[in-house]
Symmetry: C2
Subunit: 315 residues, 2 copies
């Protein structure tokens, strides 16, 4: 199975309102809830692709209960893959992340709670669970922000544990946790252009991705939004671009790309095919009406039309 | 005891953000939750005044569980009065109401979910509970909006039931439920200027309040924001005004006024004293740092300085 780690899981709530006007009252016309946090989003895409996936991280409070119930309820619809819930219970409450969609403009205003404090005992329980889960894992993805109180070097520690267990790692985070994580030599990092610039100080993606490799990442897959994905690896450098500019909701496109990279990693396909999967899944996610969903038929159609070019200057 | 009915209870959530900018992302710096809905807010003020109060209405889902837990946790701090939870369980989920406070400006953006659908069997269970609770009640307050699917004439029905049981009623709602309710001859209605204008078509409060009495209300206590409160009753007409313009958070001021009116009703004090209590409680609520709270010492001090004048032209 593929293991995804989401230390700061969330209950993703979406409100639709006719028009968001600050400092006035609004009636919410539609409420939807889904289990959230990057690693959980990645797991949902992996399951839809047919990969058995286990999610771990923390869940607590009534929001944590709802997250776990929604994960369990979601599962039967998620054939052919399966999601196994290995979230570690905590006393604090799982955070909510609220997206307020203005139905007039289609734009979203995002309000993210910080997340619960994690105690030392809870952290120890997680590390036990992580070590046990690594024994069954073909790859592990470390995704998203750290909850308050979790040490900033945590991803570096989790990457070292995975290497000791012989499990390849993908890191998708930002800021100081990314900087520390990269130094621990993960197999793949998947920053977007902004995260890459934050890590390296360079806003030129090719230069920045090469710098990220020098800092320790064995491969860098940089997602460049509508410009596709740039991969700098030990085997070579490639860029994959979507067949056309896609209109839609970019929420979840990055998580879909991570799922594509992981899928290609465990299926042991070459890098050009991995990044083609990532870009096709991203594009399919952008096109889907609900954030984080995708239509497998749209994915299959797009996959055949992704252009991958080798980047001779990159190494 | 005083009975308050809140058919559309809520989990009131407050988010603080440094500055609300539509269509961008925000980290929420502080999250607070409290049991909400007008009748529950009224009960909290009544309990702080020393009145034993029972809350009924509906509660369901995980949000309903949180509302009940917060009500129970709140109780010991609420001496000398006591709040008894007589909420009727339902299958649907109690709604959330979210206030997003922009800490730069102090302004609040409000997002209110609609509330759960109530089944026929749940409604029958509520009516049984209501009839039973009326036997112990010295007064009943019917507060706030109706959840989806509850008939618009519901407050009229609850007013008739209370009259049959010999229990005086106070109605605080808006729109068509207010119009139907007033026609059932409640003892007191407490509209604000906007609700009164919606009911009567007149934006002149004195004229509109007299019209509301002709439509069936035995007494009208119209809350006019910073201009205080206007009461048109069978015993006479009065206006009470706060001693000075108050700065603060107006959320909960209307519910505090309802508590003042009910307190005066069950203590059988004359109308000038009732509206003085209502205005002093409203003003104390505006001054309090947290929405819906008040400092008893501030209330006592303000109560001595409320000016009540008789309104000879009103009848």
């Amino acid at each position: 199975m593929i293991l995804t780690v989401t230390l700061n899981t969330a209950l993703d709530i979406t409100y639709r309102v006719p028009r968001l006007r600050p400092h006035t009252g609004h009636r919410v016309t539609e409420v939807t809830e889904r289990p959230g946090g990057k690693g959980i989003n990645v797991a949902r895409v992996l399951a839809a692709l047919g990969h058995h996936t286990t999610v771990t991280g923390f869940a607590g409070g009534v929001t944590g209960t709802v997250v776990r119930e929604l994960l369990a309820a979601d599962e039967p619809a998620r054939a052919p893959g399966r999601i196994t819930d290995a979230l570690v219970p905590i006393a604090g409450s799982t955070r909510r992340t609220l997206g307020v969609v203005d139905t007039a403009s289609g734009d979203t205003t995002q309000l993210n709670e910080a997340g619960p404090a994690v105690t030392g005992a809870e952290w120890a329980a997680f590390m036990d669970a992580y070590a046990r889960l690594l024994r069954e894992a073909s790859a592990v993805a470390l995704c998203g922000s750290l909850p308050p109180g979790v040490p900033v070097g945590t991803y570096a520690q989790l990457i070292r544990e995975a290497r000791t267990a012989g499990v390849p790692t993908l890191l998708d985070t930002s800021g100081e946790p990314l900087r520390r994580g990269v130094a621990a030599r993960p197999d793949i990092v998947k920053p977007n252009a902004e995260e890459l610039a934050g890590l390296t100080g360079s806003t030129e993606p090719l230069r920045a991705a090469r710098d990220a490799r020098r800092r320790g990442a064995r491969a860098v897959a940089a997602s460049l939004g509508a410009d596709g994905l740039l991969a700098i690896t030990a085997q070579g450098a490639w860029r994959a671009v979507p067949p056309e500019r896609l209109k839609g909701n970019p929420t979840g496109a990055g998580d879909a790309a991570v799922a594509g990279l992981l899928s290609g990693l465990v299926d042991e396909v070459p890098w050009p095919e991995r990044i083609a999967r990532a870009v096709a899944l991203s594009a399919a996610a952008v096109r889907a009406p609900a954030a984080g969903e995708f239509d497998p038929a749209v994915y299959a159609e797009l996959l055949g039309r992704i252009e991958v070019t080798e980047h001779p200057t990159a190494l």
